[in-house]
Symmetry: C2
Subunit: 313 residues, 2 copies
């Protein structure tokens, strides 16, 4: 028996036939077409699923279930997606529409949740029964696994750890609140902090790396400058690690998982980031003599979306 | 079959024989004697358990299990209590010591967790499969139920929601960190805010209520003044509700339970508090058009400790 995992992205939709151990047997892709009506988008995805299944050498009888990770909110109970802004979806009946094409169990969840599940089944947190996956990208997302099962909340709006408050009346957030965690722990935060400091320290190496155009700064440039010993780069890096450590402490205080997994673009800084976060986080621990969650880097990379979606079943 | 629940407090230890529905059939009490060695404290508790069981008309054969809620950290896996400062316990083998007297399954957990479980079995959150209980007292504690089961973390240090960061570099906390949630949402926070404002507004009604001695202020006085229309009382109350709403939003962002239950001393303000919190919290919701956790007041009062401990089994 096999499963299909669908990683719904803003530009492309990755589809994979996956075995029960989380190995991808065959892949397919459709371009995200936000200009199409929802039912036609689903028809294209379903056609690609069937094609990929055939190419994997498996029949429909061997297909157990289909799972999809979406960059939005998913209601597992109803199979409805209340919000998926990148695809222009609002209150769409994903499951019932999909089952018109392939009548199998259809599971849906948020993409960060799905990536966290993938790591807990076939990645760095495999073998644990509790983990929190943190995607450090343009925003900050989360995936929670408790007692071996995904937890996305009673209304499907949990694991949105980027919108926990980290600072009362802090930086304005895209969600309308202030001081959300993702204003301090995302790539966007790194860029903001660097730009602020460059205004008074234009001699920083970051300015050279961005070709003198602060609007071109990205997190990679800031971390590269930090590695090279640039004072402003290091200042931003230290501040970022300090914020991330406090975010990890908040997650530990409430959930205390076995493992906290760092994923997303910022985590590509690798051991440079991991070592610093592992050193900083225990300083904020509530019980300093008790064991803390292990902190690890995500291992599955861009395949996590397909693998985790398949594992939703 | 019956169970025994033990509510271990700093001044008294409440013991109850409880049926499977959470009804207390018989009660007993022993005075907390921190001057006694740990094994003698346990011997006294066990003797009171046996006495209470007999008085309930049940035999040892009818006793399924014993559970204890402690004001500290409990490791359910090992039965060891790493910290229970009020009782002077440090790394004590609660389960093995207790089983020398009564050889039944022994369960332990944190007291706020136990109270949350009680509410979810026999109280205001009964019938739900996920809830977060928040004790608003001298500090802020938490009890988490997910998929009908208590979650206290992989290392027993979860559900310590009072020590999530609510303000970077904020108020110093007893734990050594700064800006912990309980510095803004506890009775202690209400008292601190009132004292700060009284320094420049000695004409507030709060000053009369405390007999002109700000060191005597308690949260009840501040809320009484707020109810009476006192400007300083109302200012503290509004600020407190605003902080609590953001704390509830953080909990919702990560866990999104069906119900959030407010317990502890501050929650005795009843509907005066509940109505304000219910009005304020949706302002911080990430998805304003989606359902949010219900917010309720705890219903079981001081019996929650016994009932929840018995339900740990």
């Amino acid at each position: 028996m096999v499963r299909i995992g669908i990683d719904v992205g803003g530009t492309g939709i990755q589809i994979g036939v996956v075995d029960r151990l989380g190995n991808i047997l065959q892949k397919g892709e459709v371009v995200t077409r936000t200009d199409l009506p929802f039912d036609e988008q689903i028809a294209q995805m379903a056609a690609c699923c069937l094609d990929t299944l055939t190419r994997s050498g498996h029949s429909l009888d061997e297909l157990e279930s289909i799972g999809a990770g979406v960059p939005g909110v998913a209601n597992q109970a109803t199979g409805v997606i209340p919000f998926c802004t990148n695809l222009g979806w609002h209150d769409v009946p994903f499951r019932t529409e999909f089952q018109k094409h392939i009548n199998k169990p259809i599971y849906i969840d948020n993409d960060a949740t799905v990536a966290g599940l993938a790591e807990s089944v076939a990645g760095v947190s495999a073998g644990t029964s509790s983990s929190v996956f943190i995607t450090l990208g343009t925003g900050v997302g989360g995936g929670i696994v408790i007692n071996g099962k995904v937890w996305s909340g009673a209304h499907g709006v949990g694991s949105e750890i980027g919108h926990m408050t980290l600072e009362l009346d802090g930086e304005p957030c895209t969600c309308g609140n202030r001081g959300c965690l993702e204003r301090y722990c995302s790539a966007t935060a790194i860029i903001r902090m660097a730009r602020e400091l460059l205004a008074t320290h234009p001699d920083s190496e970051i300015m050279a790396l961005c070709g003198g155009k602060p609007e071109r700064i990205n997190a990679k440039m800031v971390f590269a400058a930090a590695r090279n010993g640039d004072a402003i780069g290091q200042k931003v890096f230290r501040r970022y690690v300090c914020y991330l450590a406090q975010a990890i402490n908040s997650i530990t205080a409430i959930l205390d998982p076995e493992v906290i997994v760092l994923g997303g673009g910022v985590s590509k800084a690798g051991d440079f980031l991991l070592d610093a976060v592992r050193e900083e986080t225990p300083k904020y621990a509530l019980f300093k003599s008790l064991p803390l969650p292990r902190i690890e880097l995500a291992r599955l990379g861009s395949d996590a979306g397909i693998i985790g979606a398949a594992m939703l079943g």
